[in-house]
């Protein structure tokens, strides 16, 4: 059912966020972002500005941040565009949150490669910590979302938590990461497989092996 997400009550949100304005630092950033686009095309800056606004809201609420309606309107007014056009953008992209999220926004990939590599275990780890899909935990720490492919299939399964990716996960490493975050520690980002640095094949190259040391012309072997 394509129902609207649980958008908070408008009057309350307006009372809380109606006076939203850039911080001095963000005002500078916003100016720089708008200056990237040619005159008369300032509307193109709507996406970076919405992101900036979401981060500011996040900093104010000590969460990952979200976009209350007055904040979207603030950005739209700054770019001289109708509110509806900015709202369309904010609702189209899943990285803009239209409802408040927790301190950590846990986005578990459930697309085929991650599913095959065990994303169900990752999801179970989250569930066992009391998270429910689309909801924030009562302590306000975690919001769980299942997302589609994040383009990290070589390191499946993966989650994105706030701005960081955690890859090559299993049940235990996921539990550890969540524990660390809850304890206020910063876990190691990227791959959790000690044998990998990034997305290279585990245990050395499996193809183009000759290329490791020096350039090699494979064409003769075709």
């Amino acid at each position: 059912m394509a129902d609207a997400p649980q958008i908070p009550d408008e009057a309350e949100v307006r009372a809380r966020w109606g006076a939203f304005a850039w911080t001095a630092e963000n005002a500078e950033k916003a100016k720089a972002i708008i200056a990237r686009y040619p005159a008369g095309r300032q509307r193109s800056a709507v996406m970076p500005l919405l992101d900036l606004a979401q981060r500011q809201v996040g900093a104010e609420t000590e969460t990952q941040g979200w976009l209350p309606v007055p904040v979207i309107e603030y950005v739209a007014a700054e770019l001289d565009m109708p509110f509806m056009r900015a709202y369309e953008v904010a609702s189209f992209y899943t990285m803009y949150n239209l409802a408040p999220v927790g301190r950590y926004h846990v986005q578990v990939c459930g697309t085929t490669p991650c599913l095959l590599r065990g994303s169900d275990d990752i999801m179970a780890a989250c569930k066992n910590r009391g998270m429910t899909k689309g909801k924030t935990t009562p302590d306000g720490l975690f919001t769980l979302t299942e997302v589609e492919c994040m383009g990290t299939c070589t390191n499946a399964p993966m989650v994105q938590i706030n701005d960081d990716n955690y890859e090559d996960l299993d049940y235990d490493s996921m539990v550890r990461i969540l524990d660390d975050l809850a304890a206020g520690k910063q876990p190691k980002t990227g791959t959790q497989n000690p044998k990998r640095h990034t997305s290279e094949p585990e245990g050395g190259p499996t193809t183009l092996k000759e290329m490791v040391k020096a350039n090699h012309d494979y064409r003769k072997e075709w």
Binding site: A2, M84, R85, S91
Partner: protein
């Protein structure tokens, strides 16, 4: 001029034409949902697929594909047939099968095209997705599960109405069309999105579950709600008009109509005067026609007779009243009921000379004392086209009101018209096609009319092939009335000064009736409104849908409207009332039938005999051009309640409360 072949027929198409247009020129029907001639091209419904070579070996969306020299287009190949069936099947996946309870049934593009181009059966066994209803205001009812996301309504709101309140939120299967935060769409043109919607997602709220299109009698009419002269189709069943839809006329309304035009019709069956009344001992009492006529005769007015025309009356009515007043020996006629007294020695000085269709070609526009958006919404769309699409500059003198496009407001002081700021004056002077639009607010201030005419001369607004001096009227009867001589030099003050013993008020509700306290006031009209309250004798007449008539719009376009239904009760067509009254008063009006009345009117004013622009030439008088200092008033206080029919209409009342006065009627979307 590329030469293309459509289904084996070679033809030349204009440069820049799309493949869809080429197919239409070849007489081929291309099914479509999102494409609309008057909106930008979206290309998102994919229904207009055709086979084009050279090109990729797959069907192409013809609406968004430009023609090229030597293209071979096939609209009837097996590939095209299969492609259309496929698109239709996808569109119908989430479309509910609720045609029997859908108001669009019988005039639904999706219904028609699925019969013509669909597979005939479904292969889809999964659940359909459902979408919650959206609140879009008092005019538009939504059933969003039916929406196929063609985005016509979004494009209309942005491009024509200029109210960017409608948009598509979320994405993919979750995409939904909605107004911003489900607030009412604050446009006086919102009813048009109902017509544009190719499915039953947006339907008319006041007309919900009223009738099926095939049981309606369609009559061609001309709308009388404003002076634009919107061409409409009156849909009636039995004795009731159920809805009014616009007809295509590129010279006047394109294919739009304002919400007032569409939805005042429920006022036509309310507060109607359906029998004569005579005031006895201070109270209006029901009477027979004979008693009413006796009461008029008893006034023994002799020559002391006047007629005052309201905003909704047609030329034949005004002519019949004029014939009677003249036959009784008087010439006291006036149509500007609110007391305007601008000079009418030349009709070209009070006419929309530019013509409505040409107005969109202006490059610099000056609005004087007009809230065009309310006075003539469909002229405003033309100005918006000029400003928004073609980049015309718009300046305005008068009270500041949002016009949906960028306007440089110069201030609301009337004296500004005589000495415009240099920026505006230079822009007008250097313009190729300058346009000066004078509205009702401007006409009300002495001197502004003359100053505007002087300005038109000084900026050379009238030249070969371009007349840039235009006056916007608000009353549908105005230009016709002026042609028939319904104007005194001093306006209605002259009538008051003449102290007539008997005065006919032809649907005139906005008159200051206290000035006529010694006069026997005869109200000839159709609604029990201000005029009827003040009247001594009420003669019930026919509303605009209940008679054949001629009317002249603000650009001097003579148009004819036909009778759709009969007037209720004892009410009679206006001409016959004056014909009978002539007998009662012992005078002769010189006609015995409607046709004779019309013929006599045409004999008196030949320009009313031919439909089309009357053409007043260009010979304007020199008028006082020194407007007094002071703000220009705003003549329309409430767009939705400008006349007796609107005030009787529950829909218009609700629009007024919600959109003008801001009462909150938002329904919780279940």
């Amino acid at each position: 001029m590329p030469k293309v072949t459509v289904d084996g027929v070679e033809l030349d198409v204009p440069q820049g034409a799309t493949v869809l247009q080429a197919c239409e020129m070849a007489g081929k029907e291309i099914p479509r949902f999102c494409y609309h001639e008057r909106l930008s091209i979206a290309g998102n419904c994919r229904m207009c697929l055709v086979e084009v070579s050279p090109g990729p070996p797959k069907p192409q969306a013809s609406c968004a594909l430009p023609t090229a020299e030597g293209q071979v287009i096939k609209t009837d190949s097996p590939m095209v047939k299969k492609a259309r069936e496929g698109v239709m099947e996808f569109l119908l996946i989430n479309h509910p099968l609720d045609c029997p309870i859908c108001d669009q049934g019988g005039e639904c593009d999706l219904q028609d095209q699925s019969v013509a181009y669909g597979r005939g059966a479904t292969r889809y066994d999964e659940n359909k997705r459902a979408v919650t209803e959206k609140y879009m205001g008092p005019i538009v009812k939504t059933v969003m599960t039916r929406c196929i996301q063609c985005t016509r309504c979004v494009r209309f709101a942005e491009e024509v109405a200029g109210v960017e309140d409608i948009g598509a939120i979320y994405r993919g299967e979750n995409m939904q069309i909605t107004s911003y935060l489900e607030h009412a769409v604050a446009s006086e043109l919102s009813g048009n999105i109902v017509d544009l919607c190719p499915v039953g997602a947006l339907t008319s709220k006041p007309y919900a579950f009223e009738a099926r299109p095939w049981e309606l009698t369609k009559t061609l009419g001309i709308d009388m709600m404003d002076a634009v002269g919107t061409n409409v189709r009156i849909d009636s069943r039995g004795r009731q008009v159920l809805r009014v839809l616009p007809r295509v006329n590129d010279d006047v309304n394109e294919e739009w109509a304002s919400d007032k035009t569409r939805h005042h019709v429920d006022g036509l069956i309310r507060r109607r005067l359906d029998r004569p009344y005579v005031r006895k001992g201070g109270q209006l009492a029901e009477a027979t026609w004979a008693e009413a006529f006796d009461a008029i005769k008893a006034a023994k007015a002799g020559k002391s007779v006047a007629a005052i025309a309201g905003d909704l009356v047609d030329c034949e009515t005004m002519f019949a009243a004029k014939a009677l007043v003249n036959a009784l020996g008087s010439t006291l006629l006036e149509g500007r009921q609110t007391g305007l007294d601008y000079d009418v020695s030349s009709l070209s000085a009070v006419n929309f000379n530019t013509t409505i269709a040409e107005a969109e070609n202006a490059d610099v526009i000056l609005l004087i004392g007009t809230n065009l958006r309310w006075e003539a919404p469909l002229i405003n769309t033309r100005i918006r086209k000029a400003a928004w699409k073609k980049g015309a500059k718009v300046f305005a003198v008068g009270p500041e009101k949002d016009q949906t496009y960028k306007v440089t407001w110069l201030g609301d002081d009337a004296s500004l018209v005589a000495k415009l700021p240099a920026s505006a004056l230079d822009a007008l002077k250097s313009a190729e096609r300058p346009l000066i639009i004078l509205g009702g607010g401007g006409l009300a201030v002495p001197g502004v009319h003359g100053a505007a005419l002087a300005l038109a001369k000084s900026v050379n607004a009238v030249k070969d092939g371009w007349n840039g001096f235009s006056v916007v009227h608000m009353a549908a009867s105005r230009m016709g009335g002026l042609m028939l001589g319904y104007a005194q030099a001093g306006g209605i003050k002259d009538i008051v000064a003449a102290k007539p013993k008997l005065a006919f008020f032809l649907g005139a509700d906005e008159v200051d009736f206290t000035a006529f306290d010694k006069t026997l006031k005869v109200y000839v009209g159709h609604h029990g409104d201000k005029g009827a309250h003040a009247a001594d004798v009420i003669l019930p007449a026919a509303a605009w849908t209940e008679k054949d008539f001629t009317t002249v719009n603000t650009e001097g376009r003579v148009q004819r409207s036909e009778k759709a239904v009969f007037a209720p009760g004892d009410a009679r067509e206006d001409w016959s009332i004056f014909r009978a009254l002539a007998d009662a008063l012992g005078a002769s009006v010189g006609f015995d039938s409607f046709d004779e009345c019309r013929a006599a009117m045409i004999a008196a004013v030949p320009a009313l005999g031919t439909e089309g622009l009357a053409g007043y030439g260009w010979s304007v008088p020199k008028l006082d051009a020194k407007p007094a200092k002071g703000p220009i008033p705003s003549p329309i206080k409430d767009f939705y309640l400008t006349n007796a029919i609107c005030r009787a209409s529950p829909t218009m009342q609700r629009c007024s409360e919600e959109l003008v006065h801001g009462a909150d009627f938002a329904e919780a979307a279940e």
